[in-house]
Amino acid sequence: MAVPDRGVVQGPPARPVTATRFLNWGTWGAIAVLFAVSVQQTGFNLEVVGQGMGDFLRFFGRLAPDWRALPQIWGPLVETLQIAWLGTVFGTILGLPLIFLASFNTTINPPVMFVARSILTVMRSIPDLLYAAILAPILMIGPLPGVAALTLFTMAVLAKLASEAVESIDPGPLEALRAAGAGRNRMIVFAVLPQIGATLTSFILYVFEINVRASVIIGLVGAGGIGNLINRYLSFFDYSGLGTLLIVVFGVVLAIDQLSVWLRSRLI
């Protein structure tokens, strides 16, 4: 065997940073104080909780489904899935360049990487419903603001997940292609995509699962989909309609989850 190139002799092992350094009495105390302040400031107490949960459970009784509501639910449900699908597709397409610009091994130069990462950080800090609420008045009521909201949301979430995968690829093929005179785009297509393809597809499916859930609620703020109908049922006190809707949503979300999880398990 050849002697492998080794930089420096290894020093003593670093002191393991264990949880004990964080989970000591000081931390528990700080958490307790934070919790106490929170409770005091929000007027939260066990009585309120008991009452709230009681109301909540009693309310469930009024959600007895009425299957005659089904025909009304069908259209908005399809629109919901439409929004989730399109948001995922467009978010992926627009997010891909950002993924590579934000990864140190595929970016153009450090300033570009910094800008891409900053944009992603801000985009990622905005919740899906906030995107929808802001975009609804701008893009008008209907499915379009929903698609736009989930597109932005997908870009942010996917780019974060995927750029970690890109940064942990085997750098060897990248170097080989650089040595062979390939430019950045060709290196990405030939050395990066084959390595992250399965992971990326799995992430896209995962984001789609999240988007299906999100697309159910963005209609609450006017961004299209079944959330509109939820609002309508609530304002007309049509609780059996609401109950029916919730059961349908439950079934559809669960089915899509299972399908997606199954696909993901086959990928890796």
Binding site: I31, F35, A133, I134, L139
Partner: protein, 272 residues
Amino acid sequence: MSIKRPADTIPATPPSVRRGNVFIGGAALLVLALTIFFLVTLDPLPTWARLQSGFERSGLPLLRGFVNPNWDVFPLARNAMIETVFMAVIGTTIGAVLAFPMAFLAANNLLGSRLLAFPGKTFLVGIRTFPEILFAIILVAATGPGPIAGILAMGINSVGFLGKVFSDVVEGIDAGPSEAIRAAGGNGLHVFFYSVVPQVLPEFASYVLYRFEINLRAASVLGLVGAGGIGAVLIQRLQFRRWTEISMIMIVIVVVIIVVDTLSSRVRRRLV
């Protein structure tokens, strides 16, 4: 230079490879077809003129607000954001405290039987299927608006999430230390407190922090459906289209979430 051969010496692609290509091509076509179908059936698509007027009336003022935010609303936004953080703290704590025992019920390596693990897991899956906002609107309808509804919604959803990941952690622990304690004459409680808990605690803590990041985002928008926090301030401004104030509120939300994310992920990286 090397010998050039005519192009007809390319060997035939083997059937297995061709099948793989056909499968990938088929999947791509299916995605494309669905996308086009969904795109053309979007209804109603607003007209260009309406989009333009929407942008001029709402988009532009919002963007201008980011450059030059309205500081008048800052104290209100700050206080509402503090309340939002408090809501997330309580919601996460409820989730963590309830998920802790549930994790052990839903893990199938501790009770030794799947009898309890199965209903435990099913219950957790059921909860996670609904987004917390859905719980929130039902709670608001049932108990009236305010932060309590939001807190409970987050709590319920957090139990679903944390119960699931906690039980995965419990199922992944090393059996060695537990056996060692049993071999030394320890009972079930000893095993639990000296082997199981120390093994799972760092990962539990990491997931709780992660859930806190999620809950803070949720808490920021729960107010949009009447469940308290800064979203309540936001929805009023949205109704009256006060865009410069909305920009200020968004800035407060984004800054606080980025700061909390950064701190939390830093701690998480050192925990596990």
